[in-house]
Assembly symmetry: C2
Homo-oligomer: 306 residues x 2
């Protein structure tokens, strides 16, 4: 099967939304942006052995690469519409591709995202880059900057599950919930949309709460105090790991793909699935407390080139 | 230098065009598409050792990855505006990054393309994916489909130089012109723009004239007859290689990034830098002739997964 047959068989779905005039199969996609909205573009790469274990099922790789990009779209308060895919394969078995595209389209279909273009190449190292284009009401995108002194800091969902799930995978321990939280993160698109006009600043947690909140605060020129006992933790995380591990996974584990945002508390009271964890301060430090005592956190998160 | 310092130092140029509200440095870019135009999106990946020799200078890698994407934009008749970059490095030396970004921005600045976002990762294999977003007059994008029986077939520039240049590189032979045609292809943006409303079908020649023209004809449901003696060949190609090699490089060499398009001859007479090479036929075969005799061509071009 050559590159062109492969694209036709696995990536060119004949049904296209009305805003996609030309999708997969020409030199480029031809799209119709909606007028009176800003456009949001995101791009993220996953590499076998770096971002996921090499033995990860292709369906999970496909799902995850879409979900992590959707998470960036969610953090901007945008609605996702179109995606493109740059896929570097080392295996062109139909089974691999069928599984990969099943996962890819499962994640895309949950949010009505159309695959509109791509490039398929072959090399030793499986590398998957996805871009997603979305849109948001004019001048309403949620940015990292914009937090106000006195804002309450919130996170969606629970923290630390994905890092715990990856730890389980590495130690070949089965925990369906935690592993699934790593392999198939939930992009908080609906929450992001609900925050438009309400949140003052937002970021998605990909490198760990401590590191990502620090980026938000740095962009906003402010600091914060976070109470560790308020961090939302799942029951499986608490059952399987001791308090020290729970804290490490939740604060610096990364891969959560939950949102962290700041807002005036009364404006977001009606939004479900969010937890207040602290307050934005004028002093530029990010401080974590546990039982009232300040705790020292390695906030580096996951960094390339560290 | 960590990922965030790296992005700030090398990729975040503070000057942004007015249509870029938020560029590099947030979860996503915030952009303002022009109303009343269709949007065009393209994506292309280059991998060290696959698409260019591993010893290629980073500046040339940076230039080339932008140019090959611009070529897709040109083939759609579009005007480029924004690009995103997914860069997988195996070397985070400042020298490498400075050279790479010099080449990247040199190619982008030639066409006023703004870098609006990216993702930087680290792995053994250097992989560079670029996306470019452009726009084109409503319903005016040039497609591979749309050729008419009797159309004249044209190409821009000269053919075969890039494949000859790659051949020189591999044999460590110096030929500044041919090597530069491989490393720094010229995206035919101006010609693509001039063809809007005139060309009936267009494609860029990345895999070789024979293979790419066949894709255009297949999308149009037609065939063609091409006269090999009419193919535009550069003087350096003709001086350095025998007739057999000239023909092979020009027809199946790939990497030319010239445009191939079909049009009624009188409509494009005023456009410079194009050469008529054949005619679109109703019979679906693609036939090459030399001195009036039909010649057999291996039309596979460069294929991944062949």
């Amino acid at each position: 099967m050559n590159e062109f047959e492969l694209i036709g068989r696995y990536f060119d779905r004949k049904q296209k939304p009305a805003d996609v005039k030309v999708g997969v199969g020409d030199d480029g996609a031809v799209l119709v942006p909606e007028t009176d909205r800003d456009q949001v573009q995101v791009i993220d790469t996953l590499i076998a052995g770096v971002h996921f274990p090499v033995e990860t099922k292709p369906a999970d790789i496909g799902y995850r690469v879409v979900a992590v990009n959707l998470s960036d779209i969610a953090a901007m308060g945008a609605r996702p519409r179109w995606m493109t895919l740059a896929l570097t394969l080392n295996d062109n078995s139909e089974q691999w591709l069928q599984s990969f595209t099943n996962g890819l389209f499962e994640a895309a279909d949950e949010h009505n995202v159309a695959l509109v273009g791509g490039d398929t190449t072959r090399a030793a190292q499986v590398t998957v880059t996805v871009t997603i284009t979305g849109d948001v009401e004019r001048n309403a995108a949620l940015l990292r900057s914009g937090a106000n002194v006195g804002d309450t800091i919130y996170v969606t969902g629970t923290l630390g599950d994905a890092a715990a799930g990856l730890d389980c995978l590495r130690r070949h321990q089965a925990d369906a919930f935690l592993v699934s939280r790593f392999l198939r993160p939930t992009a908080r698109i609906e929450t992001g949309r609900a925050l438009v006009g309400k949140a003052h600043a937002a970021i998605d947690i990909s490198d760990g709460l401590a590191g990502d909140l620090k980026k938000l605060l740095s962009a906003s020129g402010l600091g914060a105090c976070v109470e560790i006992e308020r961090l939302p933790l799942s029951t499986p995380l608490q059952q399987r790991f001791d308090a020290q591990h729970q804290m490490r996974f939740a604060l610096t584990g990364g891969d959560d793909y939950e949102l962290c945002f700041t807002a005036a508390a009364d404006t977001v009271a009606a939004i479900s699935g969010i937890t207040a964890i602290g307050t934005v301060t004028e002093s530029p430090q990010l401080t974590f407390t546990l039982g009232g005592d300040v705790v020292d956190i390695d906030d580096s998160g996951y960094r390339h080139f560290a």
